[in-house]
Amino acid sequence: MTTTSTVPDARANPEVPPVKLEVRRQRRNWQGWAFVAPFMAVFALVFIAPLAFAIYLSLYRRQMIGGNTFVGLENYSQLLSDASFWSGLSRVLLFLVIQVPIMLILALAAAFAIDSARLHAASFFRLMIFLPYAVPAVVAVLMWGFIYGDEFGLAANLNDFLGSKVVTPLSQKWILASIGNIVTWEFVGYNMLLFYSTLTTIPGDLFEAAELDGAGAFRVIRSIKLPALRGSLVIATIFSIIGSFQLFNEPNILRPLIKNVITSDYTPNMYAYNLAFAGQQHNYSATVAIVMGVITAVIAYVVQLRGSRMEER
């Protein structure tokens, strides 16, 4: 409903005093908050408050004998010389450096194949490869745990077939790779879909032009598809890196039967979890968590910087 007494249309009436425009812009300024506020309110409760609490916890120490005392940065300096933490960290770094590229390359390859229009039943493949993402991590790990197992697993069947214990996915030598396999299985489809979706938005005329120029499939990939995927690749890499640093579910669910192979400090997250729930050392656990958070954030930020940048509107 338009009335002449409310804010007039500045385009129609250039002589409208600027003050009223200011009012209109200001109103919109704060209205944004009306939409963002519910999210931020819950966010504050669920992220900011625990984070602040975690920082608070990391500056104190509660002991069985002696109660709660302020210790400043002692927890942090203890962490610097904590072999458990560093071995866990180097383990997830190793995991990251190997598993993430393999998974992303597989996802890329699958996306290219499905997008290439040279595949029979492409949509079938697309759906089937994506399916593992829908499986809860717990179920995936339980499943693969059984498959890897010595009792009624495929590994056992394979060993019987081969006559000796050749396939031992749950042994110390292979466990990290076995976990990497589970993670890859779980997420390759999701990443594939991310890449595929991007590929479908590339304008068709680019391909027509390439065809006219006689470019082969691989040339097309290199010159058209890969550059178009840069943004998605960065996002996929960042999320995979974050996921690797947070590695917890897979080793933790596998742990009960192979306690000597997967120790309580196998990954930094497991270390933090066991510090809190097995050792009742909540303060030190918070310290580990914060340091891991900072490391993850820094690396994710660096990757993001090297990749594309968010375009602000």
């Binding site: 338009t2 919109r28 300024n29 704060w30 209205q31 944004g32 009306a34 939409f35 963002v36 999210f39 931020m40 819950v42 966010f43 669920v46 408050a49 625990p50 984070l51 609490f53 229009a117 040279r118 595949l119 493949f125 759906l127 399916l131 593992p132 829908a134 499986v135 809860p136 717990v138 179920v139 995936a140 059984f146 498959i147 009624f152 697993g153 495929l154 069947n157 299985w185 991310l194 890449f195 979706s197 991007t198 479908t200 938005t201 068709g204 391909f207 943004g231 998605s232 999320f239 974050i242 640093f245 917890f248 579910n249 979890y273 809190a276 968590a289 891991m292 993850t296 954030a297 968010m310």
Partner: protein, 294 residues
Amino acid sequence: MSSRKRENSVRGARNPRKSIALTVLMAFFVLYTLVPLFWLFVNASKTQPDLFSSFGLWFGDDFALFSNIHQTLTYNDGIYLRWLGNTLLYVVIGAGGATLLATMAGYGMAKFRFPGRRGVFSVVLGAVAVPGTALAVPTFLMFSRLGLTNTPWAVIIPSLISPFGLYLIWVFAVEAVPTELLEAARMDGASEFRTFFTISIRLLAPGIVTVLLLTTVATWNNYFLPLIMLSDPNWYPLTVGLNQWNSQSLGAAAQPIYNLVLTGSLLAIIPIVIAFLVLQRYWQSGLTAGSVKQ
């Protein structure tokens, strides 16, 4: 920046050759993704003793899928159904709530310039980098002081925040909801909320469905936080319950029910798979918008 889909008919006309070699290669890939699921199905149909004596990738002597299903649903006074109900509760309220919050917030970020907007952006993005487990212990301690642990709220409230959902809607809204349309609505005197609920939401639909699906998967699969927040098995979601059944096979009064763990897992996957199959169209276009970044 355009999101025009390629005209497949044009491409089809120029590139009709389908490669058998490529198809075979991809078939191996699909084998990799499907074999564990096939293994799950096959072994969910075996009886507990059969699990140990028969070959992993083929059926056992008895086809016991239906009796396994019956046993799964009735074991321990039907606790599985209770877990299923819990999961549905957490998903509907958690994912629904998360989608609503993320949609509103993403819309707000996209269409309004308000003071503190950049702050919100960096804070929320930073939140994605924080490991979930970093917050688990302080959240647990905090919630315990608030008396929320061991209640459904302990599971639902943390699942209401989807930073990636916010980001998706934001990116989607920038394109899908033309500012001119909003201006026109404002001219007509409609309130922002009215515009949002009547006009913008419809335009945002594919993005909303995507976020809904992603948050549904996340809340359906939620394991870690419920594990530490809940000690009463009556409030467990399926993930935690299945894990408990699995660890029940270990211990002094062990009652191995691997066949139920497997059948229960199979049943737990089916709804999500169906949801994905049915809603394919939406999340594909939604993900597209989210992934395109120049």
